[in-house]
Every structure is written in structure tokens, then in C-alpha cells.
Subunit: 290 residues, 2 copies
């Protein structure tokens, strides 16, 4: 059986074909333009591939509640061409296969707990830090939804005492995304993150913000592991800094075996940046099961 | 059928008998002393009552993971007499009925979604603000556990610009509990919360902290409703202040129908301070079902 996988991101769309074990048979990537330009291309790609089902991991906000009138629609997004676009409906109309839908970050979380180093863990938080900050989560083995899906890239943080940057989020100023996403780093320091690799202060401040967010996720969601992916997290020097800062901020409050072993608790994504598209393969498998 | 319910709090233990529909037939309350003094009394109470099962909502931290070696034990608590006490094991040994166990705040959350005004909602956050701050949550209809249970009373907050109080939490200083629990109010203002009812500044600052925490829970857990209980929340003037502050902090970021109607979204506990013990009745029912 061949499964279709679509990672519908804000800047690019990845279309892939995969097998039950997560193997990616082929994948292509196109830039995200308007729905009128982009969706026909996607439909063309999948139409003659004989996929049994499709899994879609979409940028948000997107309505992922099956019992909602707006299920499958993109919601109130700054990408105006996509605002209230019926992503699921338009794909279903043309492809005639079951389609599973979730957010891109929940998809990545699913990829990691299905095929990655967190295989089998029931409670996991997945965070991507790149042009924005996205958070996905599994709770009791299921991806987390409710009123909406997690939007925890926007949680409110304390400012680092040596950081006077006003924050970059148009809604919240100094939320996690406003302080720690790639564009925030670039705006604060006047250079891209990759060019700042050797400036210790950059990563000390970055780790402070990420650690603060992690502490709040730990205390709220009680995950068994936290996975960090995305472009900014390619700066591997961040991991020991984040772990050190988490330890200081927790200050001995929780003493589970997981917290005592932060090297195994706060980890990089394990699937070579394929966690998102592999998660979409799993979404397709689940959609076929109904 | 008669169900037993035990709300095992840090200051008092409530023992009750209840019916399937949540009706409380009788209840007694005793102060929480050492396990050696308190547990025999509880066992005596339930022993001749012909209960079919028992539900226990315990103060935390408590191990609520059924697959853990320490399942049912109190964990690392400042109440030294209870540290690592096998609460579940000692009750099971004497009572010979199925016992369901969760945290006291998860119990209150369960009470509200089973018998209260949030009946049937699958994703709910319950917060109690009193001598401490406790948080329970249901996700996809199940109480939230993972590595541990929520400890979200300790999430880290920004200080209010007009508040110089250093915070009251021995672990985190200015976490939610350190800034907004009853003892923090008393220490900051030199008077108990009930005596400060008419001092607007007290409640403006209090609402700022609670709202900040709520925003982070909303963004992380996407609840369909947030319920606030506990002694401090008997100050009903807090509710409109909290809603106003949540609206300002969210700043239009999420536009679900729930967020557009904060009067119905952020609500007081609905069961007359019986939500905890009624939740324990439901825990007993679930334990009987296995």
C-alpha cells in the first residue's frame, strides 16, 4: 500500500509517498503561493499515484476538530490568501481517498513517537524553532486538540535581565516566538543565527527563553520527553545550555527519573528533518483505519 | 450501590459516601496529621460502610502512573511524615475494594466535567487557588498524566510592573503559586485576602498573575473551558478582572467561539466546593468498571 503525505507549511509544501513503516519512496517540494496556484499542483501530484489515503500536516491555525463546521479549514491567518480556505474539502473533492489532518507540529510529534527515538512514548512535547515557534503534543497517546490545537509557541515569558529587545510578535511582543524564533534573533543581533554561532551571549539568552518555555510545558503537560527541532535547533550548542537552564529554573522541584536524566529528556529530533512528512504518513495510515 | 470517596488534602481529609449520580450521602472531615494517626481513622470510617469501590483524590506530588513501581505512593513532599508513603497500598490492604486514584485537582476537574456545569466537555482545565495553586486537566476526555501529573501551579510568570514582592515559593520564587496563592497575598499586603476585599490594587495585581497563567494554559492545552475554584476565588470580583486581563494579553490572537465569549469560558467552580469529593465518587465508579 502506498500512502500520500502532505506537509503543508507556510513557506513550502512537501508532497511525498510513503510505506507503512514510514519509508519515504519519493518526495517533492513546492513553494506555498495562493491556494489557486498551489492546490492544483498538489492534486496533480497525488492523482495518479494510487495512494490509499492521505495524511496532511498543515500550518496553523487550522480547524482540526472533526465535529466543527469549519473542520479542515485554515483559520484566521496573516497569510490572507489562505484565510478560511477549505484545505481538507478541496483535497477530498479531487482525491477521493480518506484524509487525516492535523497541524504540522502535531504531525512531527506523531512522526517521532511512531518512527523516531521516542517510539511508543504516550506523552511527548515536540517543539520546532525556526521562522516561528510551533508546538505539538501527545497526551495519553493521542495528539492534543481541544478548543483548537496547541499554540504554545506564543506563551508569555520573562525577559532575560540582559536583553532589552522589545520582542517580535505582532500580538504578544515578548512571547516565546517573539523572543526566540529565527527572526527575533536576527532582529536583536543584526545578523542571522547561523552567522552568530560563536557569540556565546546569543545562545545563553536563547537558551534562557527556550528553557523557560520548557519548564512551563513540563509543569503543565508532564511529558515523558521533549523533542526540539527546526532551523534554530540545528545550533547543537543550544542543547547543553537549555538543559542547564531547565535544571536551574526547576530548582529540584520535580524528581522523576526523567528529570534526573535531562540528556535523555530534552533531545533533538531524531528523523533527519523528515519527522514532519513521516508523521503525515502515519496520519494517512490512521485515516485509513477510520 | 454506595461508593466511597476520599479527598486527601494537605490540611484535611474528607471521607464521604456517594451515589452513582454524584449525590453525597454523608461526609466527614478530619485534620491531616501523620499517616499513622490519620489512615486508621479513614479505614475505620469506610470499613463497615459496604462501599463497592473507593475513589481517592490526593494531594501531590503523588505517583498516578499505574505502570510505575511507586504507583499510589506520595512522592517527594515537604510534609515529611507522608514522604514516599504508600497511600494506595495501605488503603487497599484493609478495604479490599477497587480503588481509583488521582490528584485532588484532577479529581475536582473530573467532578466538574461529570456532574458540574462543564458536564461532557472533553478538554477542561481546573485551577484551585488557595493556600497553594493546583491545576488539573482533562484532555480528549481523559485526566492528564504523563511523567507525573500537572504541576502547573508552579509555572513561571512575569512580575507585575507595580509589584516588588519577591515571591513566596521556596523553589521558584515568583511562580504562579509564589505570587498569587493566599499566603503570597498575605505576605505582600500584610493582611489576609478576605480583609483586603475593598483594596482594588490587590485584585488588579492578583488578576494579572492569574490571567497570565490562564493565557499560557490556553495556548498549551487548548481547553474548551477554564474553571477556577479554591478559597482565593471566593473573591468573585476577580472574575471580570481576570477575563479583561486575558483578553488584553491574548490581544486577538485566537478567535474561537470560546475565546469570543470569556464570560462562559472562564468560570467559577459550579458544585459548591463539592467538586473534589464528587470527583472522587466518579473515580470510585471508574475503578469499579476497571
Amino acid at each position: 500500500m502506498i500512502f500520500g503525505a502532505l506537509e503543508a507549511g507556510g513557506t513550502k509544501m512537501v508532497c511525498a509517498l510513503g510505506k507503512e513503516d514510514g519509508t519515504i519512496l519519493e518526495q517533492i517540494s513546492i513553494p506555498t503561493k495562493t491556494p489557486e496556484e498551489t492546490i492544483p499542483f498538489i492534486i496533480d501530484y497525488f492523482k495518479d499515484k494510487e495512494i490509499v489515503s492521505l495524511g496532511v500536516g498543515s500550518f496553523g491555525p487550522v480547524d482540526v476538530n472533526k465535529d466543527s463546521d469549519m473542520y479542515g479549514h485554515i483559520l484566521d491567518t496573516p497569510k490572507t490568501a489562505w484565510k478560511y480556505y477549505d484545505l481538507l474539502g478541496n483535497l477530498e473533492k479531487e482525491l477521493n481517498v480518506p484524509i487525516g489532518l492535523d497541524t504540522d507540529v502535531n504531525g512531527s510529534c506523531l512522526g517521532e513517537i511512531t518512527f523516531g527515538s521516542s517510539k511508543g512514548l504516550d506523552n511527548v512535547v515536540y517543539i520546532t524553532i525556526g521562522t516561528g515557534v510551533g508546538v505539538g503534543a501527545a497526551v495519553n497517546g493521542q495528539l492534543l486538540h481541544g478548543m483548537l490545537h496547541p499554540e504554545a509557541g506564543h506563551i508569555l515569558l520573562r525577559q532575560h535581565p540582559q536583553d532589552s529587545f522589545a520582542g517580535n510578535c505582532p500580538y504578544h511582543g515578548t512571547c516565546l516566538e517573539g523572543l526566540a524564533a529565527g527572526p527575533a534573533i536576527e532582529k536583536r543581533w543584526g545578523k542571522k543565527a547561523v552567522e552568530l554561532k560563536d557569540v556565546d551571549k546569543v545562545w545563553e539568552i536563547e537558551a534562557y527563553y527556550i528553557a523557560q518555555a520548557l519548564v512551563n510545558y513540563i509543569l503543565t503537560l508532564a511529558p515523558r520527553r521533549i523533542i526540539l527541532g527546526g532551523g534554530v535547533m540545528h545550533q547543537k550548542q543550544l542543547f547543553p545550555l537549555i538543559r542547564k537552564e531547565v535544571k536551574e529554573l526547576m530548582n529540584g522541584y520535580i524528581n522523576t527519573k526523567e528529570i534526573k536524566d535531562l540528556d535523555q529528556y530534552i533531545v533533538p529530533a531524531s528523523l533527519n528533518d523528515d519527522q514532519g512528512i513521516m508523521g503525515c504518513i502515519q496520519l494517512a495510515k490512521l485515516a485509513l483505519q477510520g
